[in-house]
C-alpha cells in the first residue's frame, strides 16, 4: 500500500521553481531517500511534503499515515527546554499519558539515540551531532507512521551514523514506519534505502528513481552513476 503519493510536483522558494515534474509513490514501511546536488531542492522537497512550503503546482497525498515525525537539519530543538522536555513536549501536548509515563518514554527514546544521561542538559550545551540525535528522539516521540529525516548524517561521526542507520532499520522492520530521508551520505544510502530519487540541480528535474545499487550500475544519467559510484555497495 502506498502511504505517500507525490503527483507532478513543482517546488521552490518564492516565485522561482527549483524542481519540477516530481512524481513518486512511497510504500508503507519503505525507506525512501532523496539525493542530489547541493542546492538541487532536496530539503525544499521535504519541506513541501510536510506542508511547510506550498507547492507551485501538483500535490502530495498521504494515505493512512497516523502521524508524522520530522528531524530538521539542525535538530530544531527548543532552546529554552532541556533535552528531556523537548522530547516530552509532543506527548505533553497530546495529553494521553500520565507524566511519569511520558517521562519514561522520553528517556527511552533518548537512550535509543545514545543520549542516556544527557536528559537534563540544554541544547546550547550540546554538540551539533547531539542536537541532531535529540531532534531524532523528539521526532520519534509519538511513534510516527512516517518519519522525515533532513540530512541526519550531518555532524555525526561514522559510529553514530551507523547506529542511527541501525535504529532506522529496526524501527522500519519492527514497527513498519515509512521513512523519507534526505542524505548526502552514500554509504548510509546503500545501507538503508530501499529506493532513491535523484534531483538534478542543473536540469531542475528528477533524473533517476529506483534501487540505489541498480542505479549505480544502470542509471541513464552519468551524473547519477558517478554520484553513486563514489562508494559501491
Amino acid at each position: 500500500m502506498n502511504v505517500i503519493s507525490i503527483e507532478d510536483l513543482t517546488i521552490g522558494y518564492g516565485p522561482h521553481p527549483v524542481q519540477s515534474a516530481i512524481s513518486a509513490q512511497i510504500g508503507e514501511g519503505e525507506i525512501f531517500a532523496v539525493v542530489g546536488d547541493s542546492g538541487s531542492g532536496k530539503s525544499t522537497l521535504l519541506r513541501t511534503m510536510i506542508g511547510l512550503l506550498p507547492p507551485h503546482s501538483g500535490r502530495v497525498v498521504f494515505q493512512g499515515a497516523s502521524s508524522l515525525g520530522v528531524l530538521f537539519q539542525n535538530g530544531a530543538l527548543w532552546t529554552s527546554m532541556s533535552v528531556l522536555e523537548n522530547v516530552m513536549l509532543p506527548m505533553d501536548l497530546q495529553g494521553e499519558l500520565p507524566r511519569a509515563a511520558r517521562r519514561a518514554l522520553a528517556r527511552f527514546k533518548l537512550a535509543l539515540v545514545g543520549l542516556a544521561g544527557d536528559e537534563d542538559r540544554y541544547p546550547a550545551s550540546l554538540s551539533g551531532g547531539m542536537r541532531k540525535r535529540a531532534g531524532l528522539a523528539r521526532a520519534l516521540a509519538l511513534d510516527p507512521g512516517v518519519l522525515f529525516l533532513d540530512e541526519p548524517s550531518a555532524g555525526l561521526d561514522p559510529l553514530a551514523l551507523r547506529r542511527l542507520d541501525e535504529l532506522v532499520l529496526s524501527l522500519r522492520d519492527g514497527l513498519g514506519i515509512t521513512v523519507v530521508v534526505v542524505t548526502h551520505e552514500i554509504e548510509s544510502l546503500y545501507r538503508i534505502a530501499d529506493r532513491m530519487l535523484f534531483l538534478d540541480g542543473e536540469t531542475h528535474r528528477p533524473v533517476a528513481l529506483g534501487v540505489p545499487a541498480e542505479l549505480a550500475r544502470s542509471a541513464e544519467s552519468a551524473k547519477v552513476r558517478e554520484f553513486l559510484s563514489r562508494v559501491m555497495p
Binding site: L105, F108, A116, L167, S170
Partner: protein, 368 residues
C-alpha cells in the same frame, strides 16, 4: 487484569497482553504491576500472543524491567522477543552512559560561577578598552587594519540614520521641561527663567544622556548583534586566523565613529531641545522668540557646552565599546545574539548613568 509476571524455575515469565503493555504502566513501580522482589533469576521469558504488534512503549517497558532486575548485579537473559525489538533494546541499552559531571550545579555553586563570570567579563572589558587605546596611534598613523567601507557603513549607521530619532526625543524632552517649568515658575512671576531651566538642563545633562540612551538602543544594539552574528558564523575566528585582531578590525572603527559623532549629535540634539522649550514657552508664557533666545544665551555658559560635549564624546565611546564587547563574548548561537543585544543595551544605559554621576561629582568638586 491477568497477572503480568510469574516466576517459573529461575525464570521470570512475562505474559504480554494482546495489545501490548499500556504505556501508562511506564509511570508505575513494577511492584504495583505484580513483580515480586527477591529471588534469583537467570532469564526473562516473554510469552506473547501471535496477534501482538509491539510498539516503542513495549521496548521502553522491557528496557526498564531489565534495568531494574540487573541493578542487583545479576546478568539476565531475555528470550521470546521479536528480533527487531531485541535489536532496538540492544541499541537503547548499549549506549555508553553520558560523561560524569552532567549534574546541575547547586545554588552556592551557581552564585560562585556567576560571580566568576562577571569578574571575567569585567576583566575582558578592561582588556578591550586597553587594546583599543593602544591601537589609537596606529589609526592616527594610518597603519591600522580598518576597511574604509566598514568605517563608512558604521559612520552612516551612527549618524544620518540616527538623526530623526535624536531630533524627536530631544524636541519632546525640551518641550516637557518647558511645560513643567512654566507651571511652577509662572506662580512666582519668573516665567522667563524657563529658558534657563531648559537651556542648562538640556545642554549640560539631559541631551547627552538621552542621545546616548537612544544610541545605546539603536547603534550599540546593532553593533552587538552584528558582531555576535559574526561570532556565530566563525567570521571572527577567520579574522583571528588571518592574524588580524578583532579589536582592530571590528571594534576600533566603531568606537572611533561613535565617539566622534556623538558630540555632533549632541549639538544637533541641543538645538532641538532648545527649540522644543521655545515652542512651548512662546504660547504658554507669552514670551517672544527673541526674548527666549536672549535669555538662553545669557544662562548657558561655555562651560556647560564643554561639559556636555565631553560627556557626549565619552558616552559615545562607552556605548560602542559595550556593544562590541558583548558581541565578541556572545555564545555561538542565535539565542546568543539576542542575549548579547540585550546585555549591550542594559549595560550601556547603566554605564551612561554611572558615568554621568561621576561627571556630576567631579564638576561639583571643580566648581564648574
Amino acid at each position: 487484569m491477568d497477572p503480568l509476571f510469574k516466576a517459573q524455575a529461575g525464570e521470570l515469565v512475562v505474559a504480554m497482553p494482546e495489545r501490548g503493555i499500556d504505556p501508562a504502566w511506564l509511570g508505575r513501580p513494577l511492584a504495583e504491576l505484580g513483580l515480586e522482589a527477591g529471588g534469583r533469576l537467570s532469564a526473562v521469558r516473554v510469552e506473547s500472543p501471535a496477534a501482538w504488534r509491539w510498539k516503542t512503549a513495549d521496548a521502553a517497558f522491557f528496557a526498564r524491567l531489565l534495568g531494574e532486575l540487573e541493578a542487583t548485579g545479576q546478568k539476565i537473559a531475555l528470550r521470546g522477543l521479536p528480533p527487531e525489538l531485541e535489536k532496538l533494546l540492544a541499541l537503547a541499552r548499549g549506549a555508553p552512559p553520558a560523561a560524569a559531571g552532567a549534574r546541575p550545579p547547586g545554588i552556592r555553586e551557581r552564585v560562585g560561577l556567576r560571580a566568576l563570570s562577571q569578574a571575567e567579563d569585567a576583566r575582558a572589558f578592561v582588556a578591550l578598552l586597553g587594546e583599543v587605546v593602544l591601537l589609537l596611534p596606529r589609526f592616527v598613523a594610518a597603519r591600522a587594519k580598518v576597511r574604509r567601507a566598514e568605517l563608512i557603513e558604521v559612520l552612516a549607521e551612527s549618524s544620518s540614520r540616527a538623526l530623526p530619532i535624536v531630533a524627536v526625543v530631544n524636541l519632546l524632552m525640551g518641550a516637557i521641561l518647558a511645560f513643567v517649568g512654566a507651571v511652577q515658575l509662572k506662580t512666582f512671576g519668573a516665567g522667563i527663567y524657563v529658558a534657563n531651566l531648559v537651556g542648562i538642563a538640556s545642554v549640560r545633562e539631559l541631551t547627552p544622556i538621552l542621545t546616548a540612551i537612544v544610541l545605546a538602543g539603536r547603534t550599540g544594539a546593532s553593533f552587538a548583534a552584528r558582531i555576535a552574528t559574526m561570532q556565530g558564523n566563525e567570521e571572527v575566528d577567520a579574522l583571528t586566523a588571518l592574524g588580524v585582531s578583532p579589536a582592530e578590525f571590528l571594534v576600533l572603527p566603531r568606537v572611533l565613529a561613535l565617539s566622534l559623532l556623538m558630540p555632533l549629535l549632541y549639538v544637533y540634539g541641543c538645538g532641538f531641545a532648545l527649540l522644543g522649550g521655545m515652542a512651548v514657552s512662546m504660547p504658554v508664557l507669552d514670551v517672544s522668540a527673541t526674548a527666549y533666545v536672549a535669555q538662553t544665551q545669557q544662562a548657558v555658559a561655555g562651560a556647560h557646552f564643554a561639559i556636555g560635549a565631553l560627556k557626549a564624546f565619552i558616552f559615545g565611546a562607552l556605548v560602542a565599546l559595550v556593544g562590541c564587547h558583548h558581541g565578541l563574548r556572545a555564545p555561538r548561537s542565535a539565542a546568543g545574539v539576542g542575549a548579547a543585544t540585550t546585555s549591550a543595551v542594559v549595560n550601556s544605559i547603566i554605564g551612561v548613568i554611572v558615568l554621568d554621576a561621576v561627571f556630576a561629582v567631579c564638576a561639583n568638586a571643580l566648581k564648574v
